[in-house]
């Protein structure tokens, strides 16, 4: 069910996004940083699911608040004439890599365990 919801959301978003009017180049920085923040939230969510401490409220609030806050920070940076969005980018992408590492480790360990189990079974059978 969740997979279906994700698919529907992705397809709808893609269609509407393609047909949406082109926003000015000046504002594309905001959108980009929002995308990165949202992706960071997604990976964080996946990690928390794997760690079995996933909370929907925290995920959703993090998803939207991170995006909006990063946009606000970028705007502030433009006003102050300093590229704050770079800092946000570093933080988000860094966290994304950490989360990816955790996910990878989880699945690799699972896979290794399975193989070890299989080997054990084979040994027992023989």
């Amino acid at each position: 069910m969740i997979v279906i919801a994700i698919l529907i959301g992705c397809i709808l978003g893609a269609i509407i996004g393609i047909n949406a009017p082109v926003i000015p180049y000046t504002y594309s920085t905001f959108l980009a940083i929002a995308v990165v923040a949202a992706l960071d939230s997604v990976f964080g969510g996946i990690t928390s699911v794997l760690k079995k401490n996933f909370d929907l409220t925290i995920f959703i609030t993090g998803f939207f608040c991170n995006s909006i806050l990063s946009i606000a920070l970028t705007y502030l940076g433009q006003r102050l004439n300093i590229d704050i969005y770079l800092a946000a980018l570093v933080v988000f992408v860094g966290r994304m890599f950490t989360n990816l590492t955790i996910i990878r480790r989880y699945y690799v360990e699972k896979w290794v365990e399975k193989r070890a189990e299989k080997a054990k079974k084979a040994q027992e059978e023989s």
Binding site: M1, I2, I4, A5, I6, I8, G9, C10, I11, L12, G13, A14, I16, G17, I18, A20, V22, I23, Y25, S28, L31, A32, A34, V35, A38, L39, S41, V42, L56, F59, I60, F63, F64, S67
Partner: protein, 245 residues
């Protein structure tokens, strides 16, 4: 318990779906922006370079703007000049027309009189005297009187009287004839004059009026007044100057 679980799951699915929707929406919008703004050259530049470039373009723009304004002012200048040229051309044309009229180079028509003199020279009168022919003096006096009365154009037997016209007598006695503008004319002498018809008429009739005098001598003379019908042809010859500078 099971229903509650299901409800929670639905809420979760919907919220995650919304989140995915928002994410993909923003992502694709961004893709589109990046694809459409194909300004790699600008993207590769540093901000300071961009500033320099921008100021250069600004300067160029200002220069071009100044040039544009210059050209525009020149164009408007030319236009006003052209207009004034047209005006002077018109003025010159009307002036030329007036001069041509005054010189007798154009056919003119208007109010005036026609004097027809028939020479009865040589006929015997009752008292035994013969009538003297109309001579150039009579014509000269009539023409002069008409001009004095305000005639604007005069012709004698369709020879326009202009500045260089001559009324001249050639030969003597019975063999003499009158020449106007180098052309020989004979009786009847038709003198056309354009001007105020009453003034013109009164200049040649009455006491001392040459037409009446000629009538008294025995010639036939008629004066026709016309309101608008008189047509006087232009001077036929060419006005050539040799000694005028």
């Amino acid at each position: 318990m099971k229903i509650k679980m299901k409800k929670e799951k639905i809420v979760m699915a919907v919220t995650i779906g919304i989140a995915c929707f928002a994410l993909m929406l923003v992502m694709f919008m961004q893709f589109k922006v990046v694809r459409q703004t194909d300004i790699t050259a600008i993207e590769d530049m540093r901000e300071s370079d961009l500033r320099v470039e921008l100021s250069e373009w600004n300067q160029k723009y200002e220069e071009l703007n100044a040039q544009y304004e210059d050209v525009m002012s020149k164009i408007s200048e030319y236009q006003t000049e052209q207009e004034s040229d047209e005006k002077t051309a018109q003025l010159l044309e009307t002036e030329l027309e007036q001069l041509n009229e005054a010189l007798g180079m154009t056919n003119v028509e208007g109010e005036g009189i026609i004097i027809v003199l028939e020479d009865k020279g040589g006929t015997q009168l009752s008292d035994g005297e013969t009538v003297k022919s109309i001579n150039i003096e009579d014509l000269l006096i009539i023409v002069n009187d008409l001009f004095a009365a305000g005639a604007e154009a005069i012709s004698v037997n369709d020879q326009r009287i202009v500045a260089m016209s001559d009324i001249f007598n050639i030969g003597s006695g019975d063999n003499s004839f009158i020449r106007v503008n180098g052309e020989r004319i004979t009786s009847p002498y038709i003198i056309k004059a354009i001007g105020n018809q009453n003034y013109l008429e009164s200049a040649v009739i009455g006491k001392g009026g040459r037409v009446d005098v000629l009538k008294g001598l025995g010639h036939e003379a008629t004066i026709e007044k016309s309101n608008k019908k008189i047509e006087i042809e232009k001077y036929n010859g060419t006005i050539s100057t040799k000694y005028l500078n």
